[in-house]
Symmetry: C2
Subunit: 334 residues, 2 copies
């Protein structure tokens, strides 16, 4: 049997079934943005998450400035800490470097990592360096902390909760398309930068973590529908989404027309925006938006409602939208 | 400038110079087998280490049974926990899988991981799964715990301390040579298995951790001279080694003759034996050996002495041995 027959999430389910053991102190293992481990003081949680990036699957080496690659490599891990409402603490870096990469490239990559590490107060704690035959591989494991009572997980969304996001969705997919186009017009540069240099919403995650009524949270790395789907599956609920309410960059419509792509697909299924998506009880929805905006997510808005009925339905101007392919699966869609 | 000009340890020094920040609670960052983080109770240490394996640099896919690969992938990380005297707790697994690998291969790999995870009480806590273009990449980050007062580090060896190892050295290098030979005689199978299925010395590490007079410890992953060199550098000392005291498999001389290789080089510079090497004050040396042997390392012996004079000198039958190339460097020796 091929991996593509069961898909990335099928593989994860298969691994989780084999390694089903847990142990005291492990509040969350496989199945959320971070693992959550209870510390000995009974108040603090240790958050741990890991991400492997390898060219040319996650980045195209000759189209990605190494400093931006370093910034993004840490940002995508910081975003997982943000999605739990945590604070970054330290990280471990493994790199496998082919002979075709020189020291200047690695130095620039390290400076990019250092940018984001300094900005978000994450200390390099260790790692591993090795050769590779051909491809540049980067694995980062990041540790964060949180108060045990403030952790936001994928489980917890309840029917009637309002669904909110921290900013524009779809820009990264548009930017990736521009990166791959040899003749992309400079006017779409902001979309390109959304793809190359995403911003982890640490402050917003922390601010929302302090609101008890925020019931679940995730970061949008695999696509809006897929990541919202994770919350729905874990929480045993469904969702109604108003497409026109989803914030989008003012350039995205023109960009989609220019390259004859589907703006709707970028917004619903495109990944790597690293905005946060959370659910909050209706009575606290306005406060959650105020708090998110005050934390820097000034385009945070409500985009729909959690339902008891399973499945995700997207409406546009009152009519159901056919959502088709729902997000990114590393093995199934090759 | 090329990476090979500065070598793997030059690169690590360069990274460490850029990321020189530490923070309260971080007892050891870059520069030991594990990072050591003080937990909030003031008694417990969290140990964290990470290793990246990628074919064909660390393993040759069509010559390595996937179940043994899984066992080894976890064992090499468990060995880093052993080298600090810690207890395994949980681990994170990232894999990048090319389309040329099928589900049966991954299932066997996972069973191998599960073997060692169950044996050493390490729970899978999370990870990342992705495609790769061509090569199978595996990154494991493992967490362990220890009493703060019992951690053994690379720093701490003192002149006059006795140097001891937990078992035969060089077998893994001989086994690798057999793996690469198309016509290896079955008689050398035990050497092959030393390479393919190393045993992490968790119980020995824990037993030695309880002896205050054990002053430093490391696992032999890069080669005896290189790993002893790490202890000497960090501790500001040197070492005298008696070559004939180093334990070796009874097959290794015949194997070296059969393939016309240097048995001495395998023993002094070959890596991946994953035996422990530690230093202990002379008055406690016999007790340390008894304890190590009782923990399962029944060929543990003393192999030399720590000196105030820097450098490592190897004597054989009273004459100095020219040690030449000192261990493995991922970038320098390609």
């Amino acid at each position: 049997m091929k991996l593509s027959d069961i898909g990335e999430f099928g593989l994860i389910d298969r691994i989780a079934a084999l390694f089903h053991q847990s142990r005291p102190g492990c509040i969350e293992g496989i199945g959320d943005d971070c693992a959550v481990l209870e510390m000995k003081d009974g108040l603090t949680a240790l958050l741990v998450t890991t991400d492997l990036l390898i060219d040319p699957i996650h980045f195209i080496r000759d189209k990605t400035p190494p400093r931006l690659l370093g910034r993004k490599a840490l940002a995508v891990n910081l975003s997982d800490i943000a999605a739990m409402g945590g604070s970054p603490w330290g990280f471990f870096l493994s790199i496998a470097v082919p002979a075709s990469i020189n020291l200047e490239y690695i130095d620039a990559f390290m400076l990019g990592l250092h940018d984001r590490a300094t900005e978000f107060n994450a200390v390099l704690l260790g790692g591993d360096t090795t050769r590779s035959a051909e491809h540049f591989a980067i694995n980062i494991t990041i540790l964060g902390t949180s108060q045990l009572t403030q952790i936001k997980r994928r489980i917890g969304a309840k029917p009637g909760d309002v669904i909110q996001v921290s900013g524009p969705i779809g820009s990264s997919s548009a930017g990736l398309k521009m990166l791959l186009e040899s003749k992309n017009p400079g006017v779409f540069e902001p979309l390109l930068m959304a793809h190359l240099d995403p911003y982890p919403r640490i402050a917003t995650g922390q601010a929302l973590a302090r609101i008890d009524s925020v019931s679940a949270m995730i970061d949008i790395s695999d696509g809006l529908l897929q990541d919202l789907g994770h919350i729905c599956t874990r929480s045993g609920v469904g969702a109604d989404i108003a497409f026109e309410a989803i914030p989008r960059d003012s350039l995205i419509d023109a960009c989609a027309r220019w390259c004859d792509e589907s703006m709707e697909s970028w917004i619903l299924s495109g990944g790597e925006d690293y905005e946060l998506l959370w659910t909050v009880s209706a009575d606290a929805a306005d406060r959650a938006l105020d708090v998110a905006r005050a934390s820097g997510a000034n385009r945070a808005v409500s985009i729909g409602t959690i339902t008891a009925q399973p499945g995700i339905r997207v409406n546009r101007d009152g009519n159901p939208l056919d959502t088709g392919r729902m997000g990114w699966d590393h093995f199934r869609y090759t």
